[in-house]
């Protein structure tokens, strides 16, 4: 139930668009949900790990871009 000063038609605009494909994977040992991007990168959607410390890591914050391919 929404309680906001923004009109509902603005909030929900585009809600019917197809949701993006997401991947669940382990990034550096942390289970995350990722939106795949180009060049082997992915954008973190959310952390699935149950370790609270993982939520303090800025590189894992939702929206940050991570390399999905192993470096070497």
């Amino acid at each position: 139930m929404m309680w906001t000063i923004i009109p509902p038609e603005v909030v929900w605009e585009g809600v019917e668009e197809r949701p993006k494909d997401l991947m669940e994977l382990s990034w550096q040992g942390v289970q995350v949900l990722v939106e795949p991007m180009q060049f082997g990168q992915g954008r973190i959607v959310k952390i699935l790990s149950t370790d609270p410390r993982d939520f303090l890591r800025p590189e894992l914050a939702p929206g940050s871009v991570v390399d999905l391919l192993p470096n070497e």
């Binding site: 309680w3 952390i47 410390r53 993982d54 800025p58 940050s64």
Partner: protein, 308 residues
């Protein structure tokens, strides 16, 4: 500052290297082009520093937040509540959202971390999901560590309970809080119980605000259901000191006052000698790893482990 730039008596003293300092723009006194501070003899900025800056910029671009302060640098954790507080439905991508599924475990980590000793909550929100907002508010209220909130821009609708959930609250002079009734939108089942449900939701929010601020329930409801203040709508917009006057927020101030208050509360708490880790409820026996550091999974006592 009525002194001209460079008039400081320490500046330009003989033997003092001022290149790269003083904010004099692209050129400094000696005619050399301004360069970012570099390692002497290298001419290239420290690689790690550049990487760090890049990461911080990327962070601002992607999530509108600067990096979470590393525990060894700051004892204060900063949580920002921006845009819509997202609830159980993923909002369309045009909305800027605060995701409770990230904030809540983060606050769990804050409570557990031995390094973090206080939380600064910064709000600039237009409202959002009631359950998610109340969940965040209850998490902040439930922290054993001191918390201070600062409303900048706006702390509307569900932002109000989140702002008052902190131990002490500030509002910027120009910031606003819209106090208005909750409402149901979309397809609604038109039965009397629908009204009762709406009333119960309203009560939850009103009760939380009243219990966690010094506003009286009658006054909050009066502000909430006032007509004539909002154009063609019900409610009130409280600007800066008005929110303080009605008792919703503790004080008008900015980031300096909020941080000073938080530091003061942290020091007071340390002086009281309260442990950073309050002993857990007696469900689990206290074992050394849990008492000292940050428990990882698997540190919980196994069958037969630990003394009751």
């Amino acid at each position: 500052m009525d002194k001209p730039l460079g008039a400081d008596k320490d500046m330009g003293q003989p033997g003092m290297d001022i290149s790269g300092y003083g904010g004099l723009g692209p050129q400094v006194g000696n005619g050399e082009p301004w360069m970012p501070e570099a390692e002497p003899g290298h001419g290239v900025p420290d690689k790690a520093a550049v990487e760090g800056q890049k990461a911080a910029l990327e962070n601002i671009k992607q999530v509108g937040q600067t990096a979470v302060p590393a525990p060894e640098i700051s004892r204060i954790h900063c949580v920002s509540i921006v845009g819509q507080v997202e609830g159980h439905i993923l909002l369309p991508p045009r909305n800027k959202t605060t995701k409770y599924e990230h904030i809540i475990p983060q606050l769990v980590a804050v409570e557990q971390s031995p390094e973090i000793q206080g939380v600064l909550l910064i709000l600039n929100t237009v409202g959002g999901d009631i359950e998610a907002g109340l969940a965040i508010a209850e998490m902040i209220k439930g922290l054993s560590k001191p918390s201070v909130s600062l409303v900048l821009g706006g702390g509307h609708s569900i932002g109000a309970p989140i702002a008052v959930a902190a131990d002490y609250s500030f509002i910027a002079e120009s910031a606003t809080i819209t106090v208005h009734p909750i409402r149901l939108t979309g397809l609604v089942v038109g039965v009397p119980q629908t009204y009762e449900y709406l009333d119960k939701m309203q009560d939850r929010v009103v009760r939380f605000i009243v219990e966690n601020s010094s506003i009286a329930e009658e006054q909050l409801r009066e502000l909430m259901f006032r007509t004539g203040d909002l154009m063609r709508d019900i409610g009130t917009v409280l600007i800066g000191r008005e929110a303080v006057r009605v008792g919703l927020i503790n004080e008008v101030g900015g980031v300096a006052q909020a941080l000073a208050k938080l530091e003061e509360m942290i020091d007071a708490r340390a002086a009281e000698g309260r442990p950073d880790h309050p002993p857990p409820p007696t469900v689990w026996p206290l074992i050394p790893q849990q008492a000292e550091g940050f428990p990882r999974h698997g540190n919980l006592p196994g069958p037969g482990g630990g003394a009751q």
